[in-house]
Amino acid sequence: MELLLIDMPRLVQQVIFNSILLVTALLFSIKAKEIYRNIKMGKAEDRSDQPQQRLKNMTLLALGQKKMFRNMIPAVFHLCIYVAFLVTQIELIEIILDGMTGIHRIFWPMLGGFYTFIISFIELLSVFALVATIVFLSRRNLLKVPRFQMDEMSGWPKLDGNIILYVELFLVFCIFTMNTADMVLHNGEYGFLVSGMLMPLFSGFSEGTLHFLERFGWWGHIVAVFAFLIYIPFSKHLHIVLAFPNAYFGALDGGANKGEMANMPRITEEIKLMMDPSLPMPEEDPNAAPARFGAKDVEDLSWKSLLDAYTCTECGRCTDACPANQTGKLLSPRKIMMATRDRLEEKGREVAKNGPEHDDGKALIHDYISAEEVKACTTCNACVEECPVSINPVNIILELRRYLILEEANSPEEWNLMFGNVETNGAVWKLPASDRMKWIDEMNE
């Protein structure tokens, strides 16, 4: 009977485990490929220069979470979860090996005392992560921190934020159920720190119950991890992966030169030709589709903007700092990122189904982001400054503006006046060039 309960199912468990592992890997890679393909829909932009500086940025911003520390309280709690998550991967490797081979705690005989130390350390971090998770759940649902309550956060984004926190609670619960039951079964032989203290809770249980609890914790943990893995690419939690490449390919100097807008070389060519008609006509690729000026839809944006969209954690630090948003305008940089991602996903499915030529009659501008939002931006870069995962919402906003002006002539009347002044007088106001030096006489009066 004992044998049946414990050993027989082990073999079955092994088969079940390996099947789930395979399915998870398959589902994850299908979605990962889709995301990769979607990002590649964006316009080419070279961001491979200065690899050393880029590595440094990635280390500081993604691994080191530098920007998070602009905001101490969430930074500390987020760090707890982050470190626990990273270190728990060691235990996860063991669990996966255990599952694949059917051996219980495969590292224990090899590592002995060091094993006790590692697992105890993981247990300690799990306690910190538990506290942090509870804090985060309360910030979202009880304290109602304003940046989690804005319009764009209703419905799925709110649920998404909570789901992951509940999964985390479940994970920690499973780890301790598993370890404590195992400790009681082995008379504390493993010497784990936290589960050692929890042993009295399980001391009255029968061996069968303990075995069940141990298995429940083990399976619960690993199934939650697999579910998480399948879930991540659909969620804002994709940032745990993409924050790294996004920091690597992000703005180089991590501060300065946020003021530079990407040049449009096609326009430079045209104007140079206008200024000097003797220049040779630029060679045109007759097969190239007539490219749009600015961005109407996601494929007109740089691939980096699309990677940005997938990386966004929907934390709202950008929107919190946005002067337009603070003064009640429709614009929210977080919403810009969320809308870009939603449209990109939609467009990706559309292209997969009907090919890239097919027009689904929708676009990022107007259908997902309104002209009113786009026009409200002061290009102050506060959103870029605050983003912990190296996202630049302004690039998207400005490309959409270029489209509005250059392709739709959708411009406020006052801007048209300003354009007219610049064009005719070389000045933003309707004043003649001869007035440019009036101040000299004033000064010398």
């Binding site: 100097d253 501060g255 300065a256 030169n257 946020k258 003021g259 530079e260 807008m261 040049n263 449009m264 326009i267 430079t268 045209e270 104007i271 600015g294 002067p323 337009a324 603070q326 003064t327 009640g328 305008k329 429709l330 614009l331 026009k375 409200a376 931006c377 002061t378 290009t379 102050c380 870069n381 506060a382 870029v384 400054e385 400005l398 503006r401 270029r402 509005l404 002006i405 250059l406 411009s411 006052e414 801007w415 006046l417 300003m418 354009f419 610049v422 064009e423 070389g426 000045a427 933003v428 106001w429 060039a433 001869s434 440019r436 030096m437 009036k438 101040w439 000299i440 004033e442 000064m443």
Partner: protein
Amino acid sequence: MSDNKIKVPLMSEVAANGGEVEVLFWVGCAGSFDDRARKITKAFVKLLNHAGVTFAILGEEEVCTGDPARRAGNEFLFQMQALTNIETLNMYGVKKIVTACPHCFNTLKNEYPVLGGDYEVIHHTQFLQGLLEEGRLTVEGGDFKGKKISFHDSCYLGRANGIYEAPRKLLQALDVELVEMKRCKSRGLCCGAGGAQMFKEEEEGTLRVNQERTKDILETAPDFVAAACPFCMTMLTDGVKEKDKQEEIRVRDIAELIAEAEDL
């Protein structure tokens, strides 16, 4: 006030005479045409003159850098302006440019190089700080000694170009009590003018951006708000005036404060 007239040479004259100047002063549209900003231009030129800096301006040959056109989305117009200016600047072999406008500064410095215009571009606060360090300009607090002054960071100086210290060092040289607003430096709140907003009404909302920023100013209640941008100047002046606080809280460009302290 100095009685001597200050000579402001044109780059074309300098070139015609085969001369050279230390730096080209880029006056900008605001600095040339806007009533309030012209005062900044004059103060800065008095300081240049006082420190014995040789400089010239482009005069009628200067056209808008194109920043507002570009930020509004009109890339054609921006590049027309940029390429015209670059042609002029390169013709005169200009190497070093100083400007009192962070928008001109940003565009000249960061956006002209890919179009063929490579210059050393310096904001006037950096330039003045340089003069101070070299001992070409001495600054004493004068009337400002001990006064409470807050510095409003311009987005295009601060976040866009990482210049936070030069303006503050200048203020400290004035012996003032520098009090920071709760949102300052990289967290500084925009005045609302950037991104071509200066040239249109704001979209519908609850407040204008400068009203939001004015709240920070009133909360800190300094004697002076120091600005380093002609557009911030307009926005903050309007904001303070709207609250009828223009007597208690005066908005000044840093160049004006220094020129005033030096009795220029």
